[in-house]
């Protein structure tokens, strides 16, 4: 329906305008703006009202619909109960689930399935030209970054675009497995990514929580597969610096394969034992956990 005019009719115009002019010396344009704003506000209010009414009418119709459906189902149940006398122990057949209920159940179970996949770390979704995978990484209970891969399936499986960091050897892994065994490709890539974020997490935790023990800077690289740093060890009320070189030889592993812990030549002989013990610890335990055990010991 049309909107009633909100601003005064032409006869009243001049009178109103003079009135307004007396109060707003900024002139005609300002007055026009004022009128436009008023018209807009009124239009908004009217629209809201109309929407409310429409919504009310819709809901009323829906209620009618549902009542009708309920009555139909009731009638159906009554009919069935009349036709088949209830046998002992048998439960009356429930009305077959409506198409809508089946659909809702399907959607719910699909969502649950996708949620499970997401929790396993690899999830996918069909796209227009292929599939889009999402690899979610985590380290010891902490969810870390997610990486995406957009794959085309025609004419052959290829990576269209991705958000995998540049220093992960994606092309190498793809060359080996993408064409032949896509599950393996995703699994290997997921291992690389999870190990990388695990190593990075350990190094970040070390820098964040144990900077007091560290001496100087922690030398690391993009893949976090070579860490070199110095830390203080106290013995007989004196502190000695230890130098550590951690090499993570296996790109799919978040523990180092080579550990070299060395102390300065002037350190007492007893420290050599400590160095060996620390070396062994770094090989077995996550870096920040190892340091936690030092500070508590």
């Amino acid at each position: 329906g049309g909107l009633a005019p909100v601003f005064p009719l032409p006869g009243e115009w001049r009178g109103k305008m003079d009135e307004e002019k007396a109060y707003s010396p900024s002139g005609v344009f300002a007055y026009l703006e004022l009128l436009e704003a008023r018209a807009y506000e009124a239009a908004v209010k009217q629209e809201e009202m109309e929407q409310q009414e429409e919504k009310l009418a819709r809901l009323k119709a829906r209620v009618q619909e549902l009542r009708l459906q309920r009555d139909k189902l009731r009638a159906k149940v009554d009919l069935q109960q009349q036709e088949q006398p209830v046998k002992e122990g048998a439960v009356s057949n429930p009305a077959p689930p409506s198409a809508r209920a089946v659909l809702e159940w399907k959607i719910k179970s699909l969502k649950a399935m996708l949620q499970i996949f997401y929790l396993t770390g690899i999830s996918g979704k069909l796209s227009k030209r292929g599939v889009c995978f999402c690899i979610s990484t985590a380290y010891e209970g902490t969810y870390l970054d997610s990486y995406h891969l957009d794959l085309l399936t025609k004419p052959e499986v290829q990576i269209y675009r991705h958000s995998v960091p540049i220093f992960i050897p994606l092309q190498q892994i793809a060359k080996k497995y993408l064409q032949t065994d896509i599950k393996r490709f995703l699994s290997v890539l997921s291992d690389h990514l999870n190990a990388y974020v695990g190593r990075r997490y350990q190094a970040d935790q070390l820098q964040e929580h144990f900077s007091g023990l560290l001496k100087g800077t922690l030398q690391r690289n993009s893949l976090c597969n070579l860490l070199v740093f110095n830390y203080n060890v106290s013995s007989e009320s004196k502190t000695f610096p230890f130098n550590v070189r951690l090499l993570y030889g296996d790109p799919c592993c978040s523990l180092p394969t080579e550990v070299v812990v060395s102390c300065t030549p002037d350190a007492p002989a007893s420290l050599a034992e400590t160095a060996a013990a620390h070396s062994d610890l770094f090989r077995r335990v996550a870096l920040h956990k190892a340091f936690r055990s030092f500070s508590s010991a």
Binding site: H148, F167, Q219, S222, G249
Partner: protein
Amino acid sequence: MDETVAEYIRRTVLKIPRDEIKMMLQKWGFLSEAQLETINFHQIKDNISQDVVQLCEENSADIKQAAVLDIIYNNIYPNKRIWSVYQMNKTGEETEFFDLTDFKKKFKRLLRSALKNVTITFKEYEDNAIWIRIAWGTPYTKPNQYKTSYVVYHSQTSYVFISASVLKSNLPLLCQALVVASNYQDIREMELRSHSLNSLKDIVFKRYSQNFQTYSPRPLTEKNVAPETVDLRIIQENRNEKERIQRLNREVFGDGPQPKIEFAQYKLETMFKSDPKMDVLDKKEPFRCLVKFSSPHLLESLKSLAPAGMADAPLSPLLTCIPQKARNYFKIREKKGVLPGSFVSP
């Protein structure tokens, strides 16, 4: 302290905007907090720089420390230079264990063996970026601290960002040093240049927002379905068309900010296609033509072309492929095959 070093520090401080000087000196860390407290940072820059030089004199600064201050300045204001991207290749497939000390040693050794007079300074940053500053000299003159090249390298990647100085002749030596130090085999220049270093990184490291369709366990926020203009008296005539354009735009450009490049250049070497009867050109030679698009932010302006009604959506793939192909210099020759990508030559 050397006269030249003092002058260099003075000029570097003068480049810094006044409000940032204290912060940069703190980052530099060469002057103590107590010393910084003695400087009045509200006076004119000339006087501030004189005070700084005075304090550096007390601490006996040499060119090495001055070079670090220069790196800090360029790291905070990289957009004052043009950066080119280079890509390195190697055939081996073993995992790289990038050792920073090893890299620095090899780099310095190779440069110094070819050119004795060169100042090399390194600075590592939190994001695994290694900044290298090289001031070039000649076999007979000391390094000119005002003719510097900068290299930014992220370990275990194959990309290097170089902002060369005026002395282009030193570029091959620099490239060779990088290849040897990082254990690669060769290096080539990519057709990608811009003032914005971070945008170049975004493009080659694929950090710009790409629209990935994935199932997200979090419910997607309902897009506001209510029409924008509530006034019923205003009707959108081309609503469908607008929505189609928005959708296409979002598919091509994604939702996030675009990497910042300032120009795209297309060198055309194609034949002039005219009515065969007219026979405009006597010789059948390719028509040579250079088309250059420039803008303070080229990709954002391309993104807004279709919604603004200035171009048809979808835009030509030659324009929209820039971040994905990681290049903004193109050579277009005659189409030889049927595949659309074949006519853009490297």
